[in-house]
Subunit: 318 residues, 2 copies
């Protein structure tokens, strides 16, 4: 038996009305690794990023400038950036506060990202601040970075549901997105942190943004696959005109609150759908799958990517 | 932490233009179990079907009338039916040849199903016959059953891709569906046997059927989740007007050719999306998930349903 990719699968079957090209924003080295029990050395994280770039990834979240005692998986992110000075890829990093931003600037970062929560409970649990205080802190980081000519991404967590509060109204994230764009962020990534969204909710959240004048080309979708819904939600996002999608090679990450093995949407699974739809993304699925296999071995865990598992099974069967 | 379902998740967010109600055709006791390494006794299979019916399943594939030496997992399907004579649910069974049909009739079956392959290679490998010979055999079964007033479902395998031939043209399945409907089948279930389809292919296959005069209300989608694409494909099917979807509790089954742990779309994952979209299906997700947990224990394997795993994780965390 030959492998699926060598057989020309998935079949390329475009759909009218979908974007012709999208940006896959690879979050594995940051959002993925920060939630893994195994912490990787900076040299290994840099090697992962080099492999992703070689496979065609053009935007790769490279690290997080946070307290190493709180997120040991992201310790020494400056060394990761230092090892990648020559790389031809955008390497945004997470900077949740002014101290983190300064450290990122000192490390040579040119793109940064900040986080807000759409719910009060998660803001206090995860950011350690009320929504109002978190907004004030994020605004300071964003304005400082923008003043220095940096590109800034805003994230909103718990857009589609919250493990304490349950349902979240679409306007809760739209309100935050509107504010962050006013501060100067280039785009807002809408996070389904616990993976509970379904396609109608995606459409409603994008519509709530449009009602506040936030155009869809300033939005990214960051779907977790905890309940297996991520790709259906991406498809709903494509139909609504979204052209930026976050994913993590090998499906690394996860939500500690759901205690599930599945975390971020796997880049491999996303690329399979995009390839089938004939939507350009600039990455090579086979090379990304190889990178995911390498990363899974480094982490000592099985991939959660169904594409990666199926491709590996096909190779065994040959 | 409270469980997701108790928190009212997923959020109910309907989409205009989708069906208000669908039939979930539960294939776990047949298509699921026939591919599991552990064979369950007829009494256990009957208990599974009773639990599914109690959870609201209205159509449950109950068994297969095939040679027990070829498919030992389906041996003694007559005993399964005999144990369920009083059950308030439709219980179709697979009858690939006239002998199987007669055995099913003798066992009291009122609904049966036949199979064809959209590709020559799979027809010879799986059905042991050329496509032409398989069509002739299926026609005999269908006409005999229809003459006796039975409801017959036709299946087409390898609709979206084949592990030997690669891409499959949409009209290959449409041609077979047109024929089977002419013989008198009530509906045709289109199978993505190796799970390679993407949403554009689903739309194209349905359009190819329409071009041959096959209306969408005579079609069911039978998506495997091998490459993680099943739910996105179901969503594309809903948008195209499909109102019958096959799934298997706990994601049992799988394609022996892909050597993947993932098989049929898990009923739990399908119900999560349908509940979020506000589409009625008559089943209770919590009860189905409980049935999947019970079945997984009987099989001695982990569920492949992401919803089931996430719900179990949420319970642990409480």
């Amino acid at each position: 038996m030959t492998g699926a990719l060598e057989l020309g699968l998935p079949m390329r079957r475009p759909r009218a009305g979908l974007p012709e090209r999208v940006t896959v924003w690879e979050v594995g080295p940051r959002d993925g690794l920060q939630a893994e029990p195994t912490a990787l050395e900076p040299a290994v994280r840099a090697e992962l990023i080099r492999r992703l770039a070689a496979a065609g990834a053009s935007v790769i979240e490279a690290g997080s400038f946070v307290r190493a005692d709180r997120v040991p998986q992201m310790a020494r992110s400056a060394e990761v950036l230092a090892a990648l000075g020559d790389l031809d890829a955008r390497l945004p990093v997470l900077t949740p506060n002014p101290r983190g931003l300064q450290d990122a600037i000192d490390a040579g970062a040119r793109e940064v990202a900040v986080f807000l929560s759409a719910t009060e409970t998660f803001s206090r649990a995860n950011l350690g601040a009320s929504m109002a205080d978190a907004e004030a802190a994020a605004e300071e980081v964003v304005r400082t970075a923008v003043d220095r000519g940096m590109r800034v991404r805003g994230y909103v967590s718990m857009v589609f549901g919250d493990p304490w509060e349950g349902a979240v109204e679409p306007d809760a994230s739209a309100r935050l997105s509107e504010r962050m764009l006013a501060w100067g962020v280039a785009e807002v990534s809408l996070g389904d942190t616990i993976g509970v969204a379904t396609p109608g909710a995606v459409a409603d959240v994008i519509a709530a943004h449009a009602a506040r004048g936030v155009p869809v080309d300033r939005l990214a979708l960051h779907m977790h696959d905890t309940y297996g819904q991520a790709l259906a939600n991406v498809y709903a996002g494509l139909e609504a005109g979204v052209r930026i999608f976050d994913s993590a090679v090998a499906g690394t990450g996860g939500c500690p609150f759901a205690r599930s093995a599945t975390g971020n949407l796997a880049t491999e699974d996303l690329l399979w759908m995009l390839d089938g739809l004939g939507i350009e993304h600039g990455m090579d699925l086979s090379a990304i799958a190889g990178t995911g296999d390498w990363l899974s071995a480094e982490l000592g865990r099985a991939t959660t990517s169904r594409v990666a598992r199926a491709l590996a099974g096909g190779k065994e069967a040959r």
